[in-house]
């Protein structure tokens, strides 16, 4: 099973029925699977904090939700993560492409990569780093953990996990 298929099937198996996405080259395959899945309502967002608002609403409306975005968006979403998702204790799996790690061709991406884990740690957001393809086997447990603890949880997926792009 491809990594994209595994991510989709874990989301579906954990009853995640509402996913919002912001485009990313690395995540393009999984975004495509989500768009074409009959089990998931896909709502593309124009900005990541907007997407987190949509996810908060969908969860309160009765559907488990998740966001797919780049790590550069951590800067955009800090206020929303803290004053909406954490303040109201809402669960939110965040599947994040970890741009700027080994294999990154665009120098500017490294600037945000060096801050990503520190920011997530400062926000007390449980963080998992997928570096090798087999790391994806943890996703099912991470999703269960997210809904157990009602927190935003970050899954960082780097270029070596995606085998380049």
């Amino acid at each position: 099973m491809s990594v994209d298929d595994k991510i989709l099937s874990d989301l579906v198996a954990n009853n995640v029925e509402f996913v919002t996405t912001v485009p990313c080259k690395q995540l393009a395959g999984v975004i495509d699977k989500i768009e074409n899945s009959p089990d998931i309502h896909h709502v593309p967002s124009n900005k990541e904090d907007e997407g987190i608002g949509l996810c908060a609403g969908a969860y309160m409306g009765g559907k488990r939700s998740a966001i797919i975005m780049q790590n550069t968006a951590i800067g955009v979403t800090i206020n929303t993560l803290v004053t909406l998702t954490q303040f109201y204790r809402l669960p939110l799996p965040m599947i994040i492409s970890y741009r700027g790690e080994l294999g990154e061709p665009v120098a500017c991406q490294v600037e945000m990569a060096v801050h990503t884990k520190a920011l997530l740690a400062q926000l007390h957001i449980p963080t998992y780093h997928f570096h090798k393809e087999e790391d994806v086997t943890e996703l099912d447990a991470i999703l269960k953990h997210t809904y157990m603890c009602n927190k935003p949880v970050a899954v960082l997926t780097d270029a070596s996990f995606w085998k380049g792009y």
């Binding site: 907007e50 608002g53 409306g61 559907k63 204790r89």
Partner: protein, 187 residues
């Protein structure tokens, strides 16, 4: 009419509806006028009332009214194309447009100057956009609730605030009672 007058007039109309209310004075005023468990009060996160409301509307079948402000919509402009392209006929966005950032001291917004939020919403692809005077908001909202079409109402009113206490309810309590109401109504 100022925003609190509009909220007073629409309070009986929205009392039995699912409502997501904008951060700051709108939530504080609505809470003081008529607190309902079916209202989600935003205590932070300026700009996301429309996004949260659309999320709730897309996830279940009951009507949802997002009460927003012109300043907040300007903060999250990307919301209008998202709303236009993800039509939920159980969603109403009521923008109370007083041309100012009320909660921070009535600094003027661009919506009070050259920018028309109704024209922007239309340009973004929203199909039912109504701009009305403050006095006509209650009637426009009543009609929108009766009609089963996603509607954006831009209510033009005067800027101005009244003295209101802050909301001290725990956010988790606000969220839990809102979710309980949604479950009950969809159950």
């Amino acid at each position: 009419m100022i925003r609190s007058d509009v909220l007073r007039e629409i309070a009986p109309i929205i009392a039995d509806q699912l409502v997501v209310c904008n951060i700051g004075l709108p939530s504080q005023e609505l809470h003081m006028i008529d607190d309902q468990p079916s209202t989600f009060y935003m205590l932070g996160t300026m700009g996301l009332s429309s996004s949260i409301g659309l999320g709730v509307a897309l996830a279940q079948n009951k009507k949802v009214i997002s009460i927003d402000g012109d300043g907040s919509v300007l903060t999250n402009f990307g919301t209008l194309p998202t709303i236009a392209n993800n039509v939920a006929d159980n969603f109403i966005l009521l923008i109370i447009d007083n041309g100012s950032y009320g909660s921070t001291g009535d600094q003027p917004t661009y919506a009070g100057k050259k920018t028309s939020l109704a024209a922007v919403a239309t340009a973004c692809g929203c199909e039912n956009v109504i701009e009305c005077a403050a006095e006509d908001t209650a009637e426009a909202l009543r009609r929108a609730i009766e009609g089963d079409k996603m509607t954006i109402i831009v209510c033009k009113c005067e800027s101005g605030n009244i003295k209101v206490p802050v909301i001290t309810m725990d956010p988790v309590v606000i969220r839990a009672r809102f979710m309980t109401e949604i479950e009950k109504r969809n159950g």
